[in-house]
C-alpha cells in the first residue's frame, strides 16, 4: 500500500478534483465556495488520512467533508444576517447535513454526472475561448492557476485575474449549471470539443518555447476527452475527438529525434508509435463509421487512422486520405483544411497541382502555409523560390524545434539536396 503522505494525498485530490468541485457546485450553488470547500477538505485529509487510511470512496469523502465545512461556514455567515448566505444554506439542504461520510456516495449524482454540467458551464459561449480553456483546466482538470499560466505562457497574475473574472461573470450573469437540452446540444457541444482540442493542440504544438510537446496538456486533454466520451457515449463527434487525440498522441514518441528535433510523419520510425493508443483510436473510428453521422472530428480521426494503418510512409493510402479530405472540405471548408488537402493531393497528383491549390489560399500569416509551399517548390526543383518560402515560414514560427527543422530544410535546399 502506498504511504498516505501529503504528496500522495495531493495526487488523489487532483484526480478527484473535477468530480468533487462539480458535485459541490451543484450542492452549494457557488463555484468559489465549492473550490474553497475542496481546499478545506484537503487540509482535513492531510491530518486524518495518514491514521485512518484511505476512505473507500475518496471523492465521496471529499464532497461530504467539503459540504459540511461549507454548511458550517454558511451558518456562521447567515447568523450574522447575510441574506445570501441564508439563501445558499437553503440550497445546500441543511436538514440532511452532517451525514456520515461513509454513506455519502449518493452525493455523486443521480441523472447526469455533475462534471458534465461543469464542462458546459466552463465552455459556455458567453465566455471567451481562452477563458473557457482556463476554466476547464482549473475546475475539471484541477490544475493550479500557476500551471495553467505556464502552459499558456501568460503571467500568473494575468491568468488568476482571467479566472476570477470568469467566475464572477458566471455568478453575476447567472450562466446556468446544467446540461443543455437536445435542441441546443449541437451548438453547445461545439465549444466544449473545441476547448479540449485546443488544450491538446497547445500541448502538442507549443506555439513558442523550447519543448515541442508539453506532455501534461496533451495528457489532460485526453483525460477530459475520455471523461466526455464516458458521459456522452451517444455523441459521435465526442468519440471522434477522442479517437483523433489518441491517434495523434500515438505518434508522439516518434515525433522528435534524440536532440528534441522535429521528425516529419514520412520520416518517423513507426516502430516507436504507441500501438495500444492506435488500437483504441481505430476501434473508435470504426464505431463512428458504423453510426454514419460524420463530422469534422470523426473525419480527421479517420485520416489519422489511415496513416496509422501504413507500416511505412510509402504504404500510405493517399487516395483514401484525399477522399477523406474532400469529405472534410464538405463539412468544414477552412483554408487550413484546404492546405492539408493539398499535401495529400501532392502525393496523389504530384507537387505541381498541389502548389496551384496552395497558391490559391489566403493563409499568408500561417507558417505552415509557407512551409508547405517551400516543400512543394523544392520538389519541383524551384530552389530559389523554395528558400524564400522557408525564410517566410521561419519568420512566422516561434517554436524552437520547428525552427530548427525549417532551417535544416532551407540549408539542404540551398545546397541542392
Amino acid at each position: 500500500m502506498t504511504a498516505l503522505d501529503p504528496a500522495e494525498i495531493a495526487r488523489i485530490f487532483r484526480a478527484e478534483y473535477g468530480r468533487a468541485v462539480a458535485s459541490l457546485v451543484r450542492l452549494l450553488g457557488d463555484i468559489d465556495l465549492a473550490e474553497e470547500a475542496v481546499q478545506e477538505a484537503f487540509t482535513a485529509a492531510v491530518q486524518r488520512w495518514p491514521s485512518t487510511g484511505l476512505p473507500p470512496s475518496p471523492a465521496g469523502w471529499i464532497i461530504t467533508t467539503g459540504r459540511n465545512w461549507a454548511i458550517n461556514w454558511l451558518r456562521r455567515e447567515s447568523s450574522r444576517g447575510y441574506r445570501h448566505a441564508q439563501a445558499a444554506l437553503v440550497h445546500a439542504g441543511t436538514d440532511a447535513s452532517f451525514r456520515n461520510p461513509a454513506e455519502m456516495d449518493d452525493e455523486v449524482s443521480p441523472v447526469y454526472d455533475d462534471r458534465l454540467r461543469l464542462i458546459f458551464t466552463c465552455c459556455h459561449p458567453a465566455l471567451a475561448p481562452a477563458v473557457q480553456t482556463a476554466l476547464t483546466l482549473r475546475l475539471l482538470g484541477g490544475l493550479e492557476t500557476a500551471e495553467i499560466a505556464r502552459a499558456f505562457m501568460v503571467p500568473e497574475a494575468t491568468m488568476a485575474q482571467r479566472l476570477v473574472r470568469a467566475k464572477a461573470k458566471i455568478k453575476a450573469a447567472k450562466i446556468p449549471y446544467r446540461v443543455p437540452g437536445e435542441a441546443e446540444l449541437p451548438d453547445r457541444l461545439r465549444p466544449v470539443l473545441a476547448v479540449l482540442y485546443l488544450i491538446f493542440n497547445e500541448g502538442y504544438e507549443a506555439s513558442s518555447g523550447a519543448a515541442l510537446v508539453r506532455e501534461d496538456l496533451c495528457a489532460e486533454a485526453i483525460r477530459l476527452a475520455r471523461l466526455l466520451a464516458d458521459l456522452m457515449p451517444d455523441e459521435p463527434e465526442v468519440l471522434g475527438l477522442l479517437a483523433l487525440l489518441l491517434l495523434i498522441q500515438a505518434r508522439r514518441p516518434a515525433r522528435t529525434g534524440p536532440n528534441g528535433e522535429l521528425v516529419l510523419l514520412a520520416d518517423q520510425d513507426r516502430t516507436r508509435w504507441d500501438r495500444a493508443l492506435i488500437a483504441e483510436g481505430q476501434d473508435l473510428v470504426r464505431a463512428c463509421l458504423r453510426r454514419n453521422q460524420p463530422g469534422p472530428y470523426q473525419i480527421q480521426a479517420a485520416i489519422n487512422a489511415v496513416h496509422a494503418d501504413a507500416p511505412t510512409a510509402a504504404d500510405t493510402d493517399w487516395r483514401q486520405i484525399l477522399a477523406l479530405y474532400d469529405q472534410l472540405m464538405a463539412v468544414a471548408p477552412t483554408p487550413v483544411v484546404a492546405l492539408n488537402r493539398a499535401v495529400a493531393l501532392a502525393e496523389v497528383a504530384g507537387p505541381g497541382p498541389a502548389l496551384a491549390a496552395v497558391d490559391a489560399l489566403d493563409l499568408k500569416r500561417y507558417h505552415l502555409y509557407h512551409a508547405t509551399r517551400a516543400d512543394l517548390l523544392r520538389r519541383l526543383g524551384r530552389r530559389e523560390e523554395a528558400s524564400i518560402a522557408y525564410d517566410e515560414a521561419l519568420r512566422l514560427t516561434g517554436n524552437a524545434a520547428e525552427r530548427a527543422f525549417l532551417q535544416r530544410r532551407r540549408d539542404d535546399t540551398a545546397r541542392g539536396r
Binding site: G29, W73, A85, A88, H91, K174
Partner: protein, 134 residues
C-alpha cells in the same frame, strides 16, 4: 472565505429571476438603413414587445433620440453644472434598450437573439446587480 457572497443556484429561493439589460448600440456615421428596412424593424420590435409583455418577461423598453439631444448634469462641489451632452465622446451610442426578467443567462440570451432579429442590430446583454424585491 473572503471573496464575496455566495451566489444562488438554480433552486435558490426567492432569487430565481434575474433582470438583464438588452442594449442596442448605434455607430455614428453608419449609413442609415433603407426606409422599408426601418419600417420592418419597427413592426418587428413592436411585435416582440407585445410577446415580452404577454410572457411576463417585460420590465421596460424604449428607443432613444440621437446623442445630439443629450444633456449632462453633474453635481460638483455643492453646485449642479449642466452641459451639452453626450457624456462620452465616442462613436458608439446607446440607441435603445430593453429590461427583461429571465431565470438565467441562457433565457436572457434567447430573448436577446429575438430582439436582435427584430431590431436588426447586435444586442448586448448585461445582468443587473440586484433584483428589487416585489
Amino acid at each position: 472565505m473572503s471573496s464575496g457572497r455566495p451566489g444562488t443556484g438554480p433552486e435558490g429561493e426567492g432569487l430565481t429571476v434575474a433582470q438583464y439589460l438588452l442594449s442596442v448600440h448605434m455607430i455614428e456615421g453608419e449609413p442609415a438603413p433603407a426606409p422599408e428596412v426601418m419600417e420592418q424593424a419597427y413592426r418587428d420590435v413592436d411585435a416582440f414587445n407585445k410577446e415580452l409583455q404577454a410572457s411576463g418577461a417585460w420590465v421596460f423598453a424604449g428607443g432613444l433620440h440621437p446623442p445630439t439631444t443629450a444633456t449632462v448634469v453633474r453635481y460638483q462641489d455643492g453646485d449642479v453644472v449642466t452641459t451639452d451632452g453626450p457624456f462620452a465622446e465616442t462613436k458608439e451610442h446607446l440607441g435603445g434598450f430593453w429590461v427583461v426578467k429571465a431565470p438565467d443567462l441562457d433565457a436572457a440570451l434567447a430573448l436577446a437573439g429575438r430582439a436582435s432579429r427584430a431590431c436588426q442590430r447586435p444586442v448586448e446583454v448585461r445582468p443587473f446587480q440586484d433584483v428589487p424585491e416585489d
